[in-house]
C-alpha cells in the first residue's frame, strides 16, 4: 500500500477530537460506546482465540469450546512450535523461518531505505532532466500487480545467478520498496526549508556531501516512518519469499503457511496457533512500540502526495 510523508492533515490528527461536543449521558452516548465496544470485540476476538488455543492441550481443543479459557494451561505448544513443528519431513520448528526472516529483513530494510532516500533527495532538490517521468513510472510501479513482473524477473535472476538466493530476495525487496521509499523521502526533503539547501550549495557543498552531511542527519523522523513501514511490510511478505528466496531462505510467513496448511499428519491446532502468534509478533511489537508513528506512517501518506 502506498503511503507518504506527514502532512498538515496528519498533524491535525494528532490534536484533539473535532466532532460535535457531547452534552450529557444520553441514549446516543450509550449507543456510541456500545458500538465501539462491539467493534473492539470483533477485532480482539481472533487474537483472544489464537492465544487461548495456543495454551490448550489437543484433548481440550477437540471438545470444541474455542472461546473458553484453557482448563489446564500448557506452554508445550509454544515450545513445539518454535523448536519442532514440521513442514513436510523437516521438523525443526518455526525458528528456522524466524531467523531467515531476520536475515532477509536487515539488509532489505537498510538498503531499500538508503536507495529510496538517495533517489528522493535527487528528485526533490536537484534539477534532473526527466525527473518527473522517472517518478511517474516509479509510482506506477507501486500500483501494478506484482504478477506482471514476476516471470521475467525469475528469468533475469536465473541468468544473473541470484534466483533462489538471499541476494535475490533482498534485491526484490529493494526493487518493490523503492516507490514508497522514494515518495516518502522526496516529499520530506521537499518540505524542508529550501534556504538550508541553498546555503549548503553556496558553501560549496557537492551532491553527496550535502546528502551525507546535511540531509541524512536531518532525516531521522522520516527514517523512523520508513523503518516502520519496511520492517512490517518485509516481515509480512509472503509472495516474494515463496518465489524468490529459495528453499533454504524461506521467510517465516511461508514456513508458517507450510506448517499449518500441510496435509500430512494430525492437525495440531494449538501448535499452529502458537506458530501463528510467533509470526505476528515482530510487526505487533513494532506496532505497539511505535504507536502514533505507525498511524502517522499510514495516515500520512495515503492522504496526500
Amino acid at each position: 500500500m502506498l503511503q507518504a510523508t506527514p502532512t498538515p492533515a496528519t498533524a491535525a490528527a494528532m490534536s484533539g477530537p473535532s466532532g460535535p461536543r457531547p452534552r450529557s449521558v444520553t441514549a446516543g452516548r450509550v449507543g456510541l460506546y456500545a458500538f465501539l465496544f462491539f467493534a473492539a470485540l470483533f477485532f480482539l476476538l481472533p487474537m483472544y482465540v489464537m492465544i487461548v488455543t495456543s495454551l490448550k492441550t489437543m484433548g481440550e481443543i477437540r471438545m470444541g469450546n474455542i472461546f473458553s479459557l484453557p482448563s489446564e494451561m500448557t506452554i508445550e505448544p509454544w515450545i513445539q512450535a518454535w523448536n519442532s513443528a514440521c513442514t513436510g519431513l523437516n521438523c525443526s520448528g518455526i525458528k528456522v523461518g524466524f531467523w531467515n526472516s531476520v536475515r532477509i529483513l536487515i539488509p532489505s530494510v537498510i538498503l531499500s531505505i538508503f536507495v529510496g532516500s538517495l533517489t528522493g533527495y535527487a528528485l526533490s532538490l536537484w534539477r534532473v532532466r526527466g525527473a518527473n517521468l522517472l517518478f511517474a513510472v516509479l509510482l506506477l510501479g507501486a500500483f501494478l500487480p506484482y504478477q506482471v513482473f514476476i516471470y521475467p524477473l525469475v528469468r533475469i535472476y536465473s541468468t544473473v545467478g541470484i534466483y533462489g538466493t538471499m541476494t535475490g530476495i533482498v534485491v526484490t525487496h529493494i526493487i518493490f520498496g523503492l516507490p514508497l521509499m522514494t515518495l516518502l523521502f522526496r516529499n520530506y526533503y521537499a518540505s524542508l526549508p529550501i534556504e538550508l539547501f541553498k546555503a549548503a550549495r553556496v558553501d560549496g557543498g557537492g551532491f553527496f556531501q550535502i546528502f551525507f552531511r546535511l540531509m541524512l542527519p536531518m532525516s531521522t523522523p522520516i527514517v523512523i516512518v520508513a523503518c516502520i513501514l519496511q520492517v512490517t511490510g518485509i516481515w509480512n511478505d509472503f509472495l516474494f519469499g515463496v518465489i524468490f528466496a529459495g528453499r533454504d531462505n524461506l521467510p517465516m510467513t511461508v514456513q508458517l503457511n507450510n506448517i499449518v496448511n500441510s496435509t500430512q499428519g494430525e492437525k495440531l491446532y494449538n501448535v499452529n496457533m502458537a506458530a501463528t502468534i510467533l509470526t505476528a509478533l515482530v510487526p505487533l511489537v513494532v506496532y505497539f512500540i511505535s504507536g502514533r508513528w505507525f498511524v502517522r506512517g499510514i495516515a500520512a501518506g495515503a492522504v496526500k502526495g
Partner: protein, 296 residues
C-alpha cells in the same frame, strides 16, 4: 557554470539505481510479460506468436472466470464494508470519547499483521468441526450452521470477513485524520442552525471527506487486485476452485502448471484493469497543474 555541471552529473549517478530498476525491473519485465502472452509458450517462453489465442483460451477457462467473479465480489464486499465500518469507527472515535487511544489501537492492530496470519486465524475460528459453529452447538443450538468456509458459494464471503478484519482499521485511521482536518467552526455553525449531527455527517462531512474516501477506495482496490496470501492461508482457493482469485490463478499457471502463455495473458488482463483504475487517480493526485504550482 562549470562546478554546477559537474554536480549535476553526481545527481544523475545517484539516480542510476532507480533508473535501472524502473527500466529493467518495471518497464522491461512488463513488456516482456505482455510479449509472452501473445506466444504459445508453455514451460519455457517461445517466440512463436499466435496472436490473441491465449486470451481467447483464458476467457473460456472457467477457473479464470470464477477468479474474476470472486475478485469482483471480494472487491465490492471489502470496499463497501471497510468504508462504512471505517467511517463509523472514525466518527465514533471523534466524539470526545474516553479511551480513544485504546480503541484506536485495537481497531488498527490487525493491519500490522500479515494476510497469512489473518487467514490462518480466521481459518481456525471458522473451522466447521471445532470453531464457532461447534461452540454455538455446544451451547444447545444444535442445528446452528456457520460453515461458509467449506461451502462452494460462500467461501469467498469468508475471505471478505477476514479482509475486513485486517483492513478496516486502515480506513478508520485515514478517515479519522480526515475528520480531524475539518474546521471546528463547522460544528458550531451547525449547532447554531440546529442541524442534527447525523445530517451534518451525511450532507456536509462525507462530501468533504471525498479525497480521503477516494484514497481509501484506491488503496483497497489495489489490495483486492493483489489478494493472494489471504486466500492461500484461509481457503487455499477451495473448496475446489470456488474461492480462486486472479493473482493465485496466475501463480498457479506460472509455477505449478507451467503454462506461461496463459499465465502472462492473465497478468496482462490484470495490468489493464489496474491501469484503468489507477491512471486517472495518479494524475489527479500527483500531477495536477495546481498542485505542482502550489509547491510539493
Amino acid at each position: 557554470m562549470k562546478p554546477r555541471r559537474r554536480q549535476n552529473v553526481a545527481s544523475y549517478v545517484a539516480l542510476i539505481p532507480a533508473f535501472v530498476i524502473v527500466v529493467c525491473a518495471y518497464l522491461g519485465t512488463m513488456l516482456w510479460t505482455v510479449q509472452i502472452s501473445f506466444t504459445d509458450s508453455k514451460l519455457l517462453p517461445s517466440m512463436n506468436f499466435i496472436g490473441i489465442r491465449q486470451y481467447e483460451r483464458l476467457f473460456t477457462t472457467s477457473r479464470w472466470i470464477i477468479s474474476l467473479e470472486n475478485m469482483v465480489i471480494f472487491g465490492i464486499g471489502l470496499i463497501l464494508v471497510c468504508l462504512v465500518l471505517g467511517f463509523l469507527m472514525a466518527a465514533a472515535l471523534d466524539q470526545k470519547i474516553r479511551f480513544e487511544n485504546t480503541f484506536r489501537t485495537i481497531f488498527l492492530y490487525p493491519y500490522a499483521m500479515s494476510f497469512i496470519v489473518t487467514g490462518l486465524a480466521w481459518q481456525w475460528i471458522l473451522n466447521p468441526t471445532l470453531g464457532v459453529q461447534q461452540y454455538v452447538r455446544n451451547l444447545g443450538w444444535t442445528d446452528f450452521r456457520f460453515d461458509w468456509i467449506i461451502q462452494n458459494d460462500r467461501a469467498i464471503y469468508v475471505v471478505i470477513i477476514a479482509g475486513v478484519w485486517q483492513a478496516s482499521g486502515l480506513v478508520m485511521a485515514l478517515m479519522l485524520a480526515g475528520l480531524r482536518g475539518i474546521d471546528q467552526e463547522l460544528w458550531k455553525a451547525a449547532r447554531v442552525d440546529g442541524i442534527p449531527a447525523w445530517r451534518v455527517y451525511l450532507n456536509i462531512i462525507v462530501p468533504m471527506l471525498r479525497p480521503t474516501i477516494i484514497t481509501s477506495v484506491v488503496l483497497l482496490s489495489l489490495a483486492v487486485v493483489r489478494v493472494y496470501d489471504l486466500v492461500i492461508a484461509l481457503t487455499g482457493g477451495g473448496p475446489g476452485i470456488s474461492s480462486e482469485v486472479p493473482a493465485k490463478f496466475i501463480l498457479d499457471y506460472l509455477f505449478g502448471r507451467s503454462n506461461i502463455g496463459l499465465a502472462t495473458a492473465a497478468s496482462s488482463v490484470l495490468l489493464v484493469i489496474v491501469l484503468v483504475i489507477i491512471t486517472p487517480w495518479l494524475y489527479y493526485e500527483y500531477f495536477r497543474p495546481e498542485r505542482a504550482k502550489g509547491g510539493k
